[in-house]
């Protein structure tokens, strides 16, 4: 989907803000427990409290900023896991073809047949709902999608003239595969998939934290558990609900817009 530069610029703003919030949150220490102050419960916005307070009197702005820690780091781990599994396997299958390709595609099909969310839940049940487990499971469950895409791209390019020319020049397979095929022809594809994975991980983490049981537990903030915490609080500060909801929505939207902008002509 081709996009106008200005909408891509607008789309890049929420993810950029999230990365800034993550940096700020890692560098400062906001005490999630000491912030409770029932005397200022449900206050509206003011200069000192830009988004007001929730129904336990906690600062919604700082909780929103701190909640970025719940997913940014693990999402990057998930991207690394998906990259480490999918790209070598996809490249191997696409470049060699034949039985290897069939075996790798079977492996991808098997993992992809278990729905991502179900696979992540199973992993959380067995290994505990640690952010690292969540990240690894999310990355592994996303790997078939990325691997299939890399496979399909390399399968199409394997017999291309520039590959034959490189081989005729005596370049090694590793150089053709690593530089000419993966770096030059697949980096945008892989980048796009990693951005989708980032968005998927945000959805996953906020969903698990919203429902509760897995994911981030109170008093540690996540945009998901902030929403759950304010549910049913009539007449309280509406920003305590609207800010995390908008943060989730805009961050996923922005990530998808930037990812779509990386699509190349001919991509669906």
């Amino acid at each position: 989907m081709s996009r106008r530069p200005e909408s891509v610029f607008l789309g890049a703003i929420p993810p950029a803000l999230v990365l800034c919030a993550w940096g700020v949150s890692v560098l400062t220490d906001y005490d999630v427990v000491a912030d409770v102050d029932p005397s200022r419960a449900g206050l509206g916005p003011s200069p000192a409290l830009p988004f007001g307070t929730d129904h336990m009197g906690r600062d919604v702005f700082w909780r929103t900023v701190t909640a970025s820690e719940a997913f940014v780091g693990p999402a990057l781990v998930a991207c690394a896991v998906a990259l480490a599994i999918a790209v070598p396997l996809g490249a191997l299958a696409g470049y060699s073809g034949g039985t290897t390709a069939r075996a790798v595609r079977y492996l991808f099909d098997v993992v992809a047949s278990v729905p991502r969310f179900v696979l992540v839940l199973l992993a959380c049940m067995i290994y505990g709902s640690d952010p690292l487990v969540l990240a690894t499971a999310a990355g592994a469950s996303y790997a078939p999608g990325l691997g299939q895409a890399v496979y399909a791209r390399l399968e199409a390019l394997r017999g291309a003239e520039f590959v034959l020319a490189a081989r005729a020049h005596g370049l090694s397979d590793a150089r053709i595969l690593g530089r000419h095929l993966l770096w030059v022809n697949c980096r945008r594809l892989v980048g796009r998939h990693l951005l989708y994975l980032f968005g998927f991980f945000l959805i996953l983490e906020t969903t698990l934290s919203y429902i509760g049981g897995f994911g981030i537990e109170e008093p540690q903030p996540s945009w998901g558990n902030m929403l759950a915490f304010e549910f049913g609080q009539h007449g309280m500060n509406p920003l305590a609900t609207l800010v995390p909801a908008a943060a989730i929505w805009l961050t996923v939207l922005g990530t998808v817009i930037v990812a779509d902008a990386l699509a190349e002509p001919g991509d669906v």
């Binding site: 098997v110 179900v118 919203y210 049981g213 897995f214 929505w249 669906v268």
Partner: protein
């Protein structure tokens, strides 16, 4: 002469039928292999787990030798897997440990999935119908609607369900307090079933987490390809309506697109059933994982994999049955 034509025609038909049979056999075999692989994957995850299900039982340590033999925990991975497959083929998936102690997993899984199909199938059909209707209108034109569909559809399923519930709750409370309406009968307590919640669940799944925008973009792409192809130009040149020629050509790509969404919808099912307090396979999966009910979670996960693989099989069969070009090469 006509006899020769008839023979050729019969031959061609027979060849097409036998190649369709080969394709169906090939796909069905792939389906069975994928399912076996998925069962093996789940078995490997369990095998590599730090504890075992016996740790979770109140009197587990007393029963350990008996249960280890019963569940095959002392066997190596391959033997455990073969045992599981052998029992599963006889319809025995074990008994639930903690969620419904003592109840056969098969009964729970079948019951829950039958209930959940009432959400899964309508949401897939609703999403497909909406996407196609929108795509029919927007395909090949610079339309603002495309951006709007993406902006709305990108919201996670749980956020959709949450905002719908909060919006409807607050609006109804406001109307009740103002004395404009009496308490409506659909305004049920959380523990009672309500058609409103079912409808909200179907809507949230059909739109949220990118479902609508994926199907919309896919349908648009196919529509543009079909509408710009030579045979549609020929139909237009003859002055006939294009729609009766466009629609049959859409069936095959739409079947593939829809089959590809089933896995995501199963994930959405877990979410909406928990958020909207519905009773089905998704909510049961969540509870089984939370209470570490290994046999039940495993049964539900394999059933989910079977449904995804079955959807792909059905999608492939639909493609093969409507598109004769695919039948040439087995």
């Amino acid at each position: 002469m006509s006899e020769a034509i008839e023979t050729t025609r019969n031959l061609a038909r027979d060849r097409a039928v036998s190649s369709l049979a080969i394709q169906i056999g090939f796909r069905a075999g792939w389906f069975a292999l994928t399912l076996l692989g998925a069962a093996f994957l789940v078995e490997v995850l369990l095998w590599a787990s730090p504890g075992d299900p016996i740790d979770l039982l109140p009197n587990g340590e007393d029963l350990r030798p008996l249960l280890e033999r019963e569940w095959g925990l002392d066997l190596p991975l391959a033997a455990r897997f073969l045992r599981f497959v052998g029992r599963a083929l006889q319809g025995d998936l074990g008994t639930s440990l903690t969620v419904h102690p003592g109840t056969p997993v098969r009964e729970l899984v079948v019951d829950a999935w039958i209930r959940s199909m009432g959400l899964l199938v309508p949401s897939l059909l609703a999403s497909l119908a909406t996407a196609l209707a929108l795509a029919w209108w927007t395909a090949g034109t610079p339309s603002k609607l495309r951006g709007l569909v993406q902006v709305v559809s990108v919201a996670p399923v749980f956020l959709f369900a949450y905002l719908l519930v909060v919006g409807i709750n607050d609006a109804t409370f406001a109307l009740l307090e103002g004395g404009y309406i009496d308490r409506p009968d659909w305004f049920a307590l959380p523990d009672q079933p309500s058609w409103v919640r079912t409808a909200l669940a179907i809507a949230a799944m059909a739109i949220g987490s990118g479902c609508l925008t994926e199907l919309h973009a896919g349908s648009e792409n196919e529509l543009v390809q079909i509408r710009t192809s030579g045979f549609i130009d020929a139909v237009r040149a003859r002055g006939g309506p294009a729609a009766p020629h466009v629609l049959p050509n859409l069936v095959a790509p739409l079947a593939t697109l829809a089959a590809g969404r089933v896995g995501f919808l199963v994930g959405g099912l877990v979410v909406v059933e928990k958020v909207l307090l519905l009773n089905g396979a998704g909510a049961l999966m969540w509870d089984a994982c939370l209470k570490r009910d290994y046999p039940l979670a495993m049964g539900l996960a394999i059933a989910a994999a079977a449904i995804v693989a079955l959807a792909n099989l059905v999608g492939d069969l639909v493609r093969f049955s409507v598109d004769p070009r695919l039948r040439r090469r087995p």
